[in-house]
Amino acid sequence: MMKELKEKIVQRIKANFADAAEKNDFNYNRLDFTVKKETIPSILFYLKDEMGFIHLSDANCVDWLEEGELELVFIVWSPKDKIKIFVRTRLDRDNPVMDNLDMIWPQLNTYEREFREMFGVQVTGLEAPDEFILEDWQGPPPFRRDFDTAAYAEKTFWERPGREDAQDVRETIANRDGEEIPDFAKKYSR
């Protein structure tokens, strides 16, 4: 039942959006579509207006630092079919630009503000104050993978002294028995 329904949805989407690559191997009520970023507004509109996926459950950004891309994930839910669809797209990490989508769902405005602030995504046509969560933030977009929050915290804030006598167990034992851990092995030490 569910399988047929999913199959039907896939057929319909594929018929309308040629570039949509589906992933349909979940054993629960979920479907994934990966599309080009230009297709995002039209596919979301289509899902919402034509196919009954009227509830935007979540919108997300994932930083794939190694691949040089940011992934946007929109999760929509159909109260009628009881299926959630993940719509994904990838943006160039160095120049991430997306279109404003808050005419589809007004709450996307908030998500977009967060993408802009936390991931440095430029949203063309977004009308909202510049600052969302952070205030007077001067560092890079903090949710990007290359922003090291621990290093920043150490640099910016104080840490209470008194814990300098801490020792490393592995090191203590190695020192005691004269073991020399080679450098290439150290990444496997804990």
């Binding site: 979920r30 459950s57 994932v62 994930v73 993940f86 709450q107 969560i133 929050t149």
Partner: protein
């Protein structure tokens, strides 16, 4: 005479528009829910424009989770939304299980439902206090928040913590029910059933409460889903929507309970929905206690230091008192999450929705409206 009056009226209106004042509500707990600020422009005492400002509670959990391993991340979860931490823990645990394909023992599922429903009750007790307190009815809060301690006592006995339980984790729950716990739960439920009558007398039967809430903070039914309204707020608009029924998780599909709805979309209907949900929670808890199977309560995870999840992502939704909350996790196959994202109901309710429905309302009702929407700022900013 007639004409003169009209001119006078128009002049006054113009003057008022010129005098539109900006008020800053907050950041000191505008709705007894957490720190955020609502910047409103008022004419007289009518709101013409509202802007929210959040960020006072931003701890960057999602960033911190990237530095912690899959098990360590679990301890951060209960801090996402303090009044009701368990749905967050549950949705994370379920997302991890979904991604890993880990089975959860039946007993654990029942215990989880018990936790979730107790948390729902505890959260609604706090809501009673907040909702009535925001209208000046402080006695109810004294009672409900005081009585909420009996639920927290149960939590303390089961999990070892009053507020932060850290109990529902991937694979099941942390500890089995202690001896005699079921009886204690039932006794507490008996007590609450008796007390609910008192709350009704003081709150729902109270003219002040009725007059201050009926027709206030109305959400149009036809727009509700599109605007992202979820949970009791959506049910207060007359739309039957509950994740426990629509996208059932744990053992909710085996339990018998009603999803109450009320037409109207105002604070009053939302309050009525919540009032009935407490009774449904008690009903669910009684069923859970009755049907609790014996057996394992935990499907052990491997050594947490070397526990990796397969590549991919998972999304698990849970019905909390504020509405749909969900956890989105992405794994790149390592011991750390690649990214986690918490979808809180307040993220939508507290910003775009609030800004919309505050317009035309009275300044004095801001707090009550925020409370009725379940705006929980720590959930917005995480």
């Amino acid at each position: 005479m007639e004409k003169k009056f009209l001119i006078l009226q128009k002049n006054t209106q113009d003057k008022m528009r010129e005098k539109a004042t900006t008020l800053y509500i907050g950041p000191q707990h505008p709705g007894i829910t957490g720190n955020m600020m609502v910047k409103v422009q008022v004419e007289g005492d009518t709101i013409v424009r509202a802007r929210t400002e959040v960020g006072y509670l931003h701890r960057a959990f999602e960033k911190l989770q990237e530095r912690r391993n899959w098990l360590q991340s679990f301890t951060l979860l209960c801090r996402f939304c303090v009044p009701e931490p368990d749905p967050v823990e549950e949705s994370y645990a379920r997302a991890v299980e979904l991604l890993e394909g880990r089975e959860v023992p039946e007993r654990a599922k029942y215990i989880r439902v018990l936790m979730l429903e107790l948390a729902r009750m505890g959260s609604y007790m706090l809501w009673y206090g907040g909702q009535s307190g925001s209208l000046g009815l402080y006695t109810i809060g004294q009672w409900t928040v005081g009585d909420r301690n009996y639920i927290l006592d149960l939590f303390e006995e089961l999990t070892g913590g009053r507020v932060y339980h850290m109990y529902i984790w991937p694979g099941g729950v942390r500890r089995d029910l202690p001896e005699g716990f079921a009886d204690k739960v039932l006794r507490t439920m008996d007590y609450f059933e008796k007390r609910l009558k008192d709350y009704d007398d003081l709150m729902f039967e109270n003219t002040i409460f009725q007059k201050r809430t009926q027709g206030v903070g109305v959400i149009p039914k036809e727009k509700a889903v599109e605007w992202g309204v979820v949970g009791p707020v959506l049910r207060g608009c007359g739309i039957k929507s509950d994740i426990r029924i629509d996208d059932p998780y744990e053992v909710y599909d085996k339990l018998d309970f009603i999803v109450p709805t009320h037409e109207g979309g105002d604070i009053w209907s939302r309050a009525l929905v919540r009032r009935q949900e407490i009774r449904q929670s008690i009903r669910i808890i009684r069923q859970v206690i009755e049907n609790m199977p014996s057996g394992e309560y935990y499907n052990r995870i491997p050594n947490p230091f070397k526990w990796t999840l397969p590549k991919g992502d998972a999304y698990a939704r849970t019905e909390a008192t504020r509405g749909e909350v969900a956890m989105y996790i992405v794994s790149d196959g390592s011991i750390h999450p690649r990214r986690t994202h918490f979808r809180g109901a307040a993220y939508v309710h507290g910003i775009t929705l609030l800004e919309k429905i505050l317009i035309g309302e009275n300044v004095a009702d801001i707090s009550a409206i925020m409370n009725s929407l379940g705006v929980c700022p720590p959930e917005i900013e995480r």
